[in-house]
């Protein structure tokens, strides 16, 4: 699934009327090497790509095809939708659409996104109606009221010999129930007003994804702010929990407490900042990594509110919830940049071949914190190994993702069940690596591990999730996770797909849903898992 970047370089060069030799000379490589690049036989990235882009007077992202790649992936998802999948698409249709009519392609992708959001809204509503205890209670009240009114009215109507006291009793009964019903109706209306507000919050995660993808998960403003904050903190002492507590107290009057009960009796989290009482509370079992990271985040959010606001300013975030979640994501980024200063982190990562456990002990950090920071090492001219990042809950639902250009990571729902991110749950707390191959031949190294919160009582349920880093096999040899593996030996690759619907492998024992691809013939040995076609969108 790698973008044919060489073709784009070649096209652009020809458009500008440059010869291969002259471009090679100005970017400082041999013409034969440029020829290999243009024929997609050599990878290009980093400083060289920047030089080529500059010489060709074109944006690096455009040249690398990242924008286009993302659009293509969005279209893959849209075309895989059961509503349209049975249409007779030609094999190259998506690619051509993106190349020739990018705006129309973007329109399709956006409409599909809006459609899936609307569908999940509808699902959320249906779930609410089925399971909402308040709604069923209101319904019960309505039925009771109607029953009493109907029964009393029938008595008044049918019984000729009612005495005055009895008549009065049933009239009052009707009056009383009518008042109750009016209250119930008001409640019900209020309930639906609230529901419609809540349901608009289905998509903020998507909006934040867009923000992160648009900036390639690198935010220079936040990096600068983090550097400044680190220097401030260093004047008080070494960067650790004690110093962070001291500076929070001195500069913001925040008291930090470890252990003891939370302010809110039923609070389920491990830490909580109460802005009113200026108190930061941590569960006594919270790890050092959690304490350090969350204190850094709090200090960052209080001290660099401007940088956070400026970062969010230009983003298209449509709801208060999206803004709140984005501000939280940006706060995490800032904390990550404080805990792992960019240049030192990059140097340590390179020196240790991206050994996450080693980096954890150097920085007193958690697996997820390190993995998250590695994904952000995208400073132009000082890039680390490009990683994608995924997190899944034990039900398989993807809860966080940072995409890697070229690799199709599902936006939501489930990925391929063969991925290490799921395998890791079978071996909790142990890193699991795998070399995977997609049906188009692209290969990636996956590294996954489960992470879990410490519990504070025997009765408490364990909250665990699995975190996975993905990197192109081309870069994998720069990481410790490729050591001992023969990356040139394709025979042990694990054949995977992005998710069943987007995967073309017919012979997979793990398949749970039919593939979308119309050009793949039906299996001789397996009956379809789903009806081959749906009514909507069928060709006439």
């Amino acid at each position: 699934m790698r973008a044919p970047i060489g073709f784009r370089i070649s096209n652009r060069r020809k458009l500008l009327g440059l010869s291969q030799a002259s471009l090679a000379r100005v970017v400082g490589i041999s013409p034969s090497y440029l020829n290999l690049i243009e024929n997609n036989k050599r990878d290009i990235g980093g400083a060289l790509l920047n030089r080529v882009a500059a010489q060709l007077d074109i944006d690096v992202d455009e040249l690398a095809g990242r924008t286009e790649q993302k659009l293509l992936q969005d279209l893959e998802e849209a075309f895989a939708d059961p509503v349209v999948e049975s249409l007779p698409f030609r094999p190259e249709e998506r690619r051509e659409l993106v190349a020739q009519y990018p705006a129309s392609a973007a329109a399709l992708a956006r409409l599909h996104r809006a459609y899936t959001d609307a569908v999940s809204n509808a699902d959320a509503y249906a779930d609410r109606l089925r399971s909402d205890p308040l709604l069923s209670q209101l319904l019960h009240q309505i039925l009771s009221g109607v029953t009493a009114i109907r029964s009393s009215a029938e008595i008044l109507e049918d019984v000729a010999d009612l005495d005055d006291a009895e008549r009065q009793r049933f009239l009052s009964s009707i009056r009383r129930e009518t008042l109750t019903l009016s209250d119930v109706a008001r409640n019900l209306i209020g309930q639906f007003d609230t529901s419609s507000e809540i349901s608009r919050n289905v998509s903020p995660a998507r909006e934040i994804d867009d923000l992160i993808i648009e900036r390639q998960n690198y935010f220079p403003l936040l990096e600068d702010a983090a550097d400044t904050l680190r220097q401030e903190i260093a004047r008080t002492g070494p960067f650790n929990v004690a110093t962070l507590s001291t500076v929070l107290e001195a500069r913001f009057g925040v008291a930090v407490d470890f252990g003891g009960p939370p302010d809110e009796p039923d609070f389920p989290g491990q830490y909580r900042f109460d802005a009113a009482s200026r108190r930061m509370w941590f569960q006594g079992t919270a790890t050092l990594a959690t304490r350090q990271f969350q204190l850094a985040r709090l200090y960052g959010e209080l001290a660099a509110a401007d940088a956070i606001a400026a970062t969010l300013h230009s983003a298209v975030l449509s709801t208060p919830t999206a803004r709140r979640l984005a501000s939280r994501a940006v706060g995490s980024y800032l904390a990550g940049a404080m805990v792992f200063p960019y240049e030192r982190m990059l140097a340590d990562a390179e020196a240790s071949a991206y050994d996450i456990d080693h980096l954890r002990q150097v920085y007193n950090a958690s697996f997820e914190q390190v993995a998250h920071r590695l994904v952000t090492l995208r400073r132009p001219g000082q890039e680390g190994v490009p990683f994608g990042f995924l997190r899944s809950d034990p039900a398989g639902r993807l809860t966080k993702h940072f995409p890697l250009p070229g690799l199709l990571l599902p936006n939501s729902g489930h990925a391929c069940p063969l991925w290490a991110i799921y395998g890791a749950f079978r071996m909790p707390d142990a890193p699991l690596r795998q070399v995977v191959r997609f049906s188009d031949g692209s290969r990636y190294l996956f590294l996954a591990r489960t992470v879990q919160r410490r519990t504070a009582a025997f009765r408490e349920q364990i909250v665990s999730s699995s975190v996975m880093l993905a990197c192109d096999v081309l870069h994998a040899d720069r990481t410790i996770y490729a050591s001992g593996l023969d990356l040139d030996d394709l025979s042990t690759d694990i054949p995977v797909g992005p998710s069943c619907r987007l995967c073309t492998r017919r012979d997979c024992a793990s398949r749970q849903e039919e593939t979308l691809s119309p050009d793949i013939g039906a299996s001789r040995t397996r009956a379809p898992l789903l009806p081959a076609a749906f009514a909507l969108g069928d060709a006439p």
């Binding site: 019960h140 009771s144 029953t147 009493a148 109907r150 029964s151 049918d158 049933f170």
Partner: protein, 127 residues
Amino acid sequence: MAIDILIAEDEPSILESLDFILRRAGYTIGAVTDGDAVLDAVRRLAPRLVVLDVMLPKRSGFDVLKQIRANVELRGMPVLILTAKGQQQDRRTAEELGADGFVTKPYANADVVGAVRQLLAGHGGAA
């Protein structure tokens, strides 16, 4: 002090009208307003039939029905269940637990009286 019908219903207005129409139909009536009180009242008042609402405070109508059917002395007691419209599952559950009849809220008074007559006739002795 044996009675004809024990009503277990927590909504006062419904209880009042049920009490009225069943008395007018010629039955003697006793009433309780929560699930915990039913079994004791059945033993004490020895009714010929129980009209049991599903949604009762403290102990649900299902629980009460299960208790009645599990009790050697009481298991033959005819039970008429009041369910709410749209709650098909409630009706199936009550059937599985051995309910003898159903009336769905909101009901017409004649439906209740008719169901009671039928059950009592089926269990020997008309009113």
